[in-house]
Symmetry: C2
């Protein structure tokens, strides 16, 4: 049963909705159910992943929380991995503007950019309804990490931001690849501890990370010049 029908189950036999149907049915019914089905699968996936962990969930678990038949799943995704990627990329798409905003509000202030960017990331981790957040709370020891094209794109964007500041501040001896990697590593690892409650203060963590990166870069610069 397609989810669109299920959602309309209150107005069951009203086949004829006048063309002036209240909510926009701008697209054909086909398109609508397709979107609704996809959304239903994604939402079910988000819940199940949070409950059972990535390893523990099966395609059947996901589809079972839906009103769809098992075969229908494969019209939308090839595997649970693809569902996870989609959820992950959704999160990234929500985060991306935050990073851009940090970049633009910072102007030439490297330190300001770093504080805002780390802060945005940590806040996002703790507040956004993302897969990763729920799963990090799991008692499990196993974590999965995905490098989707979207992730890599974000990393590259961050890298070019960093490079811009690095040239601005004459950090020509600092390998951008290593610097970006370090920023990501710090964000990952501190973010992880925030999610698990080993670190509490988001503000303090963001400032720590920012100062750390700033000081680290400058030290590398001066050591490499020598």
């Amino acid at each position: 049963m397609q989810v669109l029908r299920a959602m309309k189950s209150t107005s069951v036999s009203l086949e004829k909705d006048k063309s002036e149907s209240p909510e926009g049915n701008q697209a054909g019914k086909r398109e609508q159910t397709k979107l609704a089905n996809r959304a239903a699968i994604l939402e079910a996936g988000r819940q199940i992943f949070a409950e059972l962990g990535y390893e523990g969930t099966t395609v059947r678990d996901i589809i079972r929380r839906t009103e769809l038949a098992s075969g229908t799943f494969y019209n939308y995704f090839k595997s649970k991995e693809e569902v996870f990627h989609a959820l992950h990329d959704d999160g990234l798409a929500r985060f991306k503007p935050l990073l851009r905003a940090a970049r633009e509000s910072a102007g030439q202030d490297f330190q300001g950019f770093m504080i805002t960017a780390f802060g945005a990331y940590f806040n996002f981790l703790l507040n956004d309804q993302s897969v990763d957040r729920e799963m990090a709370a799991m008692p499990d020891w196993t974590r999965v990490r995905f490098d989707t094209p979207e992730s890599l794109a974000l990393f590259d964007e961050l890298k070019s931001d960093i490079v811009a500041f690095a040239t601005e501040f004459n950090l020509d001896q600092v390998d951008p690849e290593l610097l970006t990697a370090s920023c990501i590593g710090i964000a990952q690892e501190i973010g992880d501890r925030l999610l698990r409650g080993r670190v509490k203060d988001i503000e303090a963590a963001a400032r720590f990370a920012a100062y750390f990166v700033l000081g680290g870069s400058q030290r590398v610069q001066s050591e490499m010049q020598a």
Copy 2:
């Protein structure tokens, strides 16, 4: 068929090896086969994980590369995850002494410790026959990370080393939890790029990481005092 017998297949029907058997059979035959079976499963697991990735391998894949029957697997491990944990912990056990050596050869030289420690880690990653190394080379974009008790123990050891240096150098404003997390994150992320060939020079990477951490810590200290 137990692997011990298979290994002795050249001297098949020699049931009675005199008590003066050349290689030490100090323990009973039972113990020997148990160790040999376990080792065979672990070695098979290492190979298969490297070939098929963590997700892709099944318990059957592992046991099939062995002369054991499928049921026997479960006398030694509960799941493929447990095999992976064991392999992971093996690697850790090999790395631990390297970290200790770095600690002891460094004396009071914080920077020396950091360079040696990062260098040891990166060299270990690239040269040791560990599961992680093989799997990082995989075309896949899914990575798993395990926090076994052993891992956590190593992190704690590293943390206490870091704390020792931090007090020595009056870094009393630097949160040890955040500092340790940053070191681990940097090591992870740079290590990953080394494994994938995006970064080539191990020496340079180790010095970068060390200077970065040193400079970062001092900057955090001075900023937090203000």
